[in-house]
Symmetry: C2
Subunit: 225 residues, 2 copies
Amino acid sequence: MHRIPAPARFNRKAGIRAESESTIIAAAEQVFATYGYRGASTSMIAEQAGVSKAMIYHYFETKELLYQIVLERTHNWWGEAAELLDKFSEPVEALTAYIHRKMDMSRENYYGSKVWASEVMQGAPILQGYLETEVREWTKKQIERIRSWVRAGKIEPVEPFYLLLMIWATTQHYADFEHQIATLNGGRPLDDEQHRAAKDTVTRIILKGIGASIKSRRSKRRAKS
Amino acid sequence: MHRIPAPARFNRKAGIRAESESTIIAAAEQVFATYGYRGASTSMIAEQAGVSKAMIYHYFETKELLYQIVLERTHNWWGEAAELLDKFSEPVEALTAYIHRKMDMSRENYYGSKVWASEVMQGAPILQGYLETEVREWTKKQIERIRSWVRAGKIEPVEPFYLLLMIWATTQHYADFEHQIATLNGGRPLDDEQHRAAKDTVTRIILKGIGASIKSRRSKRRAKS
DNA sequence: GTCTATACACTGATAGAC
DNA sequence: GTCTATCAGTGTATAGAC
């Protein structure tokens, strides 16, 4: 395809297109998160986005394509957190950074997490290939890394797979079950202080639980996100 | 489309009505678990149950009523695990029994857990009343109990709410994400040995993470008054 | 109790005016 | 780019034969 870098004043149409697309994607993410793929209707997405239903089909060929794009976004979004785990060589730093980031992401945008959960509960018809390749490879790699920490005596013997599942489960729970958590919290979502306490509690229990508790106190507690 | 395994019949020798009803309920539980309330259709439930669609409406007035019954069953089923927590006065025994039971239940019937998760992701339109009364009261009570364990020096200081959420998240993850876990496990569900290892790992990390491991129980005793 | 036939709202998707 | 009108199919739910 022949792409021409156009001047800014000729990009107005492309600007409108990009804006409409992301508005629709954001709306679709919310509706898919709430009702799942089959339960979501294009009219609901259109209404949520504030556009006519025909606009959905103007920008996206089918409902399934739109769903795939939403899933792709979520997968890329979580990929960022996954990379974090590799950026630190020590278990305490790596796990702390990973857990905190995932907790923040669960709070920042819980819709993506819900769409993923819904997709997996369906049997991952769209994500299956991705699960069997990238996610599986990443998991194997992290399992080996955790094993090396055990061999180096940095953490106590632990089954790495179930440790990883525990971290995923706990951090994503704050996204997928945000409504239940808010209800039990008196009808209000966790405030900043509660969110910080939740992150600290989760991190402390896991690190201490695998014998990797923090030895030196560091005031790395800046306001994140 | 994703195929659902055949339903398990709960009744052995009961009336035709009772047997048909429980067959339909079991089928409905699977379909609701897979596609959510809106995404599930009565034809799919009928096919899964091996009866005609009209039979669904013969035994259950509406799709929503059938859904409510499925949710009610799940709620009662989990209530059994909830009671377990009160049957032991010591944190190690209570939490071990509770975690093990919830892990077993997640394996025994993950459909109920999925339906609950799906309902909550919708904003709990049906379960909201339960969440605001029974679940909230139970949670408050357990929070107080955990606080008393902290005061008695039986466990280290911990925010009880986030500990409870962690236990729920982790144990239910094995139900809600069983497909993803099986995929990462080479396409096979966790076998008996792996399930046992998962239970042990989860229990050990949590107990050790709150300073309630069996070994240190006696030495952690402190004069309180 | 079980089935087929059917009413009618809603679904995904398209055509065509502007 | 945006809208209304529309189609074929599926959705929930009911009626009535056997």
